[in-house]
Symmetry: C2
Subunit: 341 residues, 2 copies
DNA sequence: TTGTAGGCGTTATCAT
DNA sequence: ATGATAACGCCTACAA
């Protein structure tokens, strides 16, 4: 209980006293203003350095009306997909002199809105939101705050102007066509149950591929996980218990596929001999599953970087493309093969 | 190039004008001061709400000398271990009204120091650093900034006062004893090559276990990965090519184990029949590998939370325990078994 | 080349 | 219960 009240940090006035000048001179010297005598600059900077002085970004932010900060809202940072996107954002932000505030929304719309408001109070100059779950009812609220917002893989299409999205429909059509091309007749879709836009779109691509191949769409072959391994495992068991189980499963994401893979192994079947499996995301473990997972690659770091680039444009007052759709790439590994005759 | 200069946010003075009071009254009303008339409070708050007013946390921070922010420095957020620790920190921070700045150090000591300095400029009230690589040469620099710092799994023991660490030695002794108990004679240690303290300690626990069991320590059975799957894969191949390969491998972390597992499968061998494998961390995929991975669990979210709790104490001026050592738990799954006779 | 004065948006300390 | 005034630490005219 020592209650050591921390000493106040030094201010430019303190440095001014030490250097026997006035504080505006210090302010200028520290920013290498050409207005001030080079020798004075050097002296002041030395004194500042030796005394451990650090400008107060908060005071500077108040007067310049520029905080050089952005806010990043994620469902949860403890998700490999999310954390890589954030990594891309963070990198780009830092390269441009921005610090990033991070906050989890836990996929709770109320919490998401609260966080965005909090960021507004902190006077962030821009906000990136991944997997936004904010519906139309908040449209007004978000629009009244004048901070540019870029969404990554947002839930509803066209709700906000600026976003970075993966080409879900095209990618899952490709993935499904891959399975059809291998000769599969009964292809399941193991989706997500939380009503994300990306799930809807991936299901859409799956259905398009079936339709183009003149295959029937069988509702019983669509099941729902939770986007995580456990949900994938359970959903896979549901599929396995069907009177006529599928010979191939296209999963909403790699996390689900991981769980599905576990369920398949547990039931004594083999991939791809007994059942083919395709994921989505190409997370780091995809090439290390047994067998290595065929999946759709999303350039996660790049998506974060693109979001940041849009944000930088918007923050500088420029307009920017409404929506960037990032192409995805099918990575064929060993979890998909022709069904046994 | 629309250059829409964003309008300045409303200030309490604007609200004061709208409410026909002075700005201190607005300030008080918005914080529900008992000093101001309840009807006035309600009126002012309504006006503020309807006009979309948000307090400026930066102005408030300047006058109160309290920013309610902390800084978190990580090697890279794009690492499942790190991101879960950060998740724990973020959660605890938010529960206590703190916003968190996030920055990557990319395991670069210079960058780490720069980031810490930047955080100091932003007047964060505390800092958490994971896997700090800052050596003694920065001790002075870091000590001269008066911000409390808590390290998680820091590189060098005893360098800083406050830290949260996993019981590396005890845990890896346990893991190695597990393998010895299963009857393995040739047990390898697949470590990390970057000289982290935790690697040294885990190697130490491994050696202790061998010694206690009166087994020889064989230097050729110690190899080094990079803490990631690819490095684990390569290191495993080295082990496989030994004249007398090991029958069991204890890995520095699960990421390395994942790569090692891939290498084993690739060479046509089986786990655990031909070779036992034990990891460290218990990352989310550990129970979904084939076979499920025996590993040492680190309570990552909890470690982040503990770090935050120490930090909160320090920030409130209290003293706190120097170092918290968190016990780890051996999770026995199916990747470890007795060697074949 | 440097100093003086004012203001950024709050909160805090006085008065009234 | 409210208003007037100062202060937080910095930047930016403007003056010298």
């Amino acid at each position: 209980m020592a209650q050591n009240t921390r000493p106040k940090p030094l201010s430019i006035k303190d440095i001014a006293r030490l250097a026997d000048v006035t504080h505006p001179t210090v302010s200028r010297a520290l920013r290498n203003s050409p207005l001030v005598n080079p020798r004075t600059i050097e002296r002041i900077q030395r004194i500042a350095r030796e005394s451990g002085y650090r400008v107060s970004a908060v005071a500077r932010g108040l007067v310049t009306q520029k905080t050089n900060t952005i806010g990043v809202v994620v469902t949860t940072i403890a998700d490999p997909f999310v954390s890589e996107v954030v990594s891309g954002i963070e990198h780009a932000a830092n390269d441009h002199g921005y610090s990033v505030f991070l906050a989890d929304s836990y996929a709770d719309p109320d919490r998401e809105v609260r966080v965005v408001h909090l960021f507004a109070e902190r006077r962030v100059e821009g906000i990136v939101v991944t997997s936004s779950r904010v519906g139309t009812r908040y449209l007004r609220i978000l629009s009244e705050m004048k901070v540019p917002i870029v969404l990554i893989n947002n839930q509803r299409r066209g709700e906000f102007v600026h976003s970075v999205m993966i080409e879900n429909v095209e990618a899952s059509r490709l993935a499904t066509q891959h399975l059809i091309g291998l000769g599969h007749e009964r292809i399941a879709y193991l989706g997500d149950r939380y009503g994300y836009q990306s799930d809807t779109e991936r299901l859409g691509g799956y259905r398009q591929a079936l339709k183009q191949a003149r295959r029937p769409f069988l509702p019983e072959l669509v099941v729902h996980g939770d986007g995580k391994p456990e949900g994938g495992r359970q959903a896979m068991e549901t599929l396995r218990s069907l009177p006529q189980p599928p010979t191939a499963v296209f999963c909403y994401n790699d996390m689900s596929a991981l769980g599905a893979l576990g369920a398949i192994h547990q039931s004594g079947l083999r991939v791809p001999e007994d059942i083919s499996l395709v994921g989505f995301d190409d997370l780091f473990f995809a090439s290390y599953t047994q067998p290595p997972l065929t999946t759709v690659r999303q350039p996660r770091q790049r998506m974060g970087l693109l979001a940041m680039e849009i944000l930088l444009k918007l923050m500088s007052g420029q307009d920017s493309a409404d929506t960037i759709k990032v192409p995805a790439e099918l990575i064929v590994r060993e979890s998909s093969a022709s069904p046994r005759a």
